[in-house]
């Protein structure tokens, strides 16, 4: 196969055409840089999966969302806590979410969306090569051992004569950041900080989705589930999202819990058969099964974002946010790609020289953005909730179910007695008034 010679032709190389990589490529191309994006899949998105809801404030800032392959806007959010057979849920349908731009919350499928977003970068002038895997970084002086300290000056790929030199490399290689790890730019995440997710895309006719989820037209639903009925004894949750003519159903929980014997397959099967979930997902035809690891280490697990000649963005930088209520990552990928792209554009002088201190604008801008602010503000959450797993995901859901069963019990006893007993059930679950006060104090920061 003859290859165009890309060596030394570009100002920047982006490793990976996911949302972080394409956001960086689009930003740099707009600022006049010659950008090469290298994607290992057959097309952008081919290797990617997520839940998923994409939050689009930054995407919409970067490009026109008209024509984007959006599935449905989120018109309802539901948070359900599940015991083995009960559900207690909060559902929200604010009228405002029906209005444009729909709170910038849309379900998408990555094969479509990532390909479209990469096209936006190409339209801005970026060059995309697919089916090409970056296998390592090139350093000044030649060697790329983890101990090497030479400046990064390009990439090695699996193509013949696949060495490509460029002043800056943007590493947007995703959760399995092999290149960054091998080059010593980051450590492999500890398994306690990584979750496994497995999901099915189920085909239904449009009317079935509209009826089951009480939506019409482009409106859709985003349901999140917690508790032993969602993921057994593991720390994690289940989800259901509506797409146009499919629904995405899946589970995600800590790899630590999977390693001790709870398989993703059994977890997904049990979740789908839960009495509150089965009516929503039954009789769908599986059109795709997918899985991925999710870096959930938060702020503490973030690597240094800038190296001499390289920046790290998106999942590769551990930019995933999970505080139980909000599950975000793709929006943070886009935001990080944007700030990295801006910093790279500023760092590259017109004479081709690189001002490495300007690359520091990237971590500074990211620290000022919602990405790092959210990670910092909720840094306490993951560990605290993991420690309280049994209380939060087993005892509280059971106490809620017992209390509501008692409160609404129909017999010939006066309601006051039922209300008293319901209150007792709740207090038993959280360890009395003192336990309830402790819990409220511990998690008060959720509302701050």
């Amino acid at each position: 196969m003859t290859q165009p010679n890309y060596d030394d032709h570009f100002d920047a190389i982006v490793v990976g055409a996911g949302l972080a990589g394409s956001a960086a490529a689009l930003t740099m191309a707009r600022d006049g840089l010659d950008v090469l994006v290298i994607e290992r899949g057959r097309s952008p998105g081919a290797k990617n999966m997520f839940g998923g809801v994409l939050y689009t404030p930054t995407v919409r800032e970067l490009t026109d969302l008209d024509g984007a392959p959006l599935e449905r806007y989120v018109a309802e959010r539901r948070y359900g806590v599940l015991t083995e057979r009960d559900e207690t849920a909060v559902s929200m349908r604010p009228g405002q979410w029906h209005e444009e731009p729909h709170n910038d919350s849309y379900t998408v499928l990555r094969a479509d969306f990532d390909e479209w977003f990469a096209e936006q970068a190409q339209d801005a002038g970026a060059t995309l090569v697919t089916e090409t895997t970056v296998t390592g970084l090139l350093r000044e002086g030649g060697s790329d051992r983890p101990t090497a300290d030479g400046r990064i000056v390009g990439v090695e790929t699996d193509r013949p004569d696949g060495t490509i030199r460029a002043p800056i490399v943007v590493l947007a290689e995703g959760a399995n950041s092999l290149v960054s790890e091998r080059s010593g730019l980051k450590q492999r995440d500890d398994r306690a900080d990584v979750a496994v997710a497995a999901k099915e895309v189920l085909k239904f006719d449009k009317e079935t989705i509209e009826d089951r989820f009480r939506v019409r037209d482009d409106a859709g639903a985003a349901y999140q589930y917690f508790g032993t009925g969602a993921v057994g004894d593991a720390f994690g949750g289940g989800f259901i999202y509506t797409n146009k003519r499919t629904i995405s159903v899946g589970i995600t929980y800590r790899i630590e819990d999977a390693a001790s014997g709870q398989t993703p397959q059994d977890t997904l099967n049990t979740f789908k058969q839960h009495p509150a979930v089965a009516p929503l997902v039954a009789d769908g035809r599986v059109v795709e099964y997918s899985a991925h690891a999710i870096p959930e280490g938060g702020k503490d697990a973030m690597p240094s974002l800038v190296q001499d000649g390289a920046v790290i963005v998106g999942d590769a930088a551990g930019l995933v946010f999970n505080n139980g209520v909000h599950l975000e990552g793709t929006n943070m990928a886009v935001e990080s790609g944007y700030h990295a792209g801006k910093a790279v554009a500023r760092a590259l002088g017109e004479d081709g020289s690189v001002n490495h201190s300007s690359l520091r604008d990237y971590p500074a801008a990211l620290a000022d953005s919602f990405v790092v602010k959210n990670l910092e503000h909720y840094a306490w959450f993951h560990e605290t909730a993991a420690e309280d797993r049994e209380l939060l995901f087993d005892r509280v859901p059971k106490a809620l179910a017992e209390a509501e069963t008692e409160y609404f019990k129909m017999d010939r006893t006066a309601k006051e007695a039922h209300a008293d007993r319901a209150k007792d059930r709740l207090l038993d679950g959280v360890g009395g008034y003192i336990g309830a006060a402790k819990l409220a104090w511990k998690y008060r920061r959720m509302l701050k």
Partner: protein
């Protein structure tokens, strides 16, 4: 994981992992992109077979006293095994030249 049907709740026909994997589009590659770094570690140190229980695609099968067999052609490239192995004994590469999994939905 079969449960007795609950009255008023539809029964969900869950597929086997094998059937689920039939829904996934793959491009074959001859050489395995997965492996174990040191087979002896699997034989002597492995207690959990974490690679096997964490894998959503049944790629890894660990038999007592042996290194695992690896059905690499089923791999969804999720990377979970890479993190799961407490001995860090999983060798994991990206399949080359666009081979491996190609999600049509994602």
């Amino acid at each position: 994981m079969s449960k007795a049907a609950t009255p008023g709740v539809p029964t969900v026909e869950n597929q086997t992992t094998e059937d689920r994997l039939y829904t996934v589009k793959y491009t074959d590659h001859e050489d395995s992109h997965l492996g174990v770094k040191v087979p002896g570690i699997c034989v002597e140190k492995c207690q959990q077979a974490a690679c096997q229980t964490v894998c959503p695609a049944d790629v890894w099968e660990k038999q007592d006293g042996d290194a695992p067999t690896i059905a690499f052609e089923n791999c969804l490239e999720c990377g979970s095994c890479r993190f799961a192995c407490p001995e860090n004994n999983v060798h994991w590469e990206y399949p080359e030249h666009g081979t491996g999994v190609t999600y049509r939905f994602g």
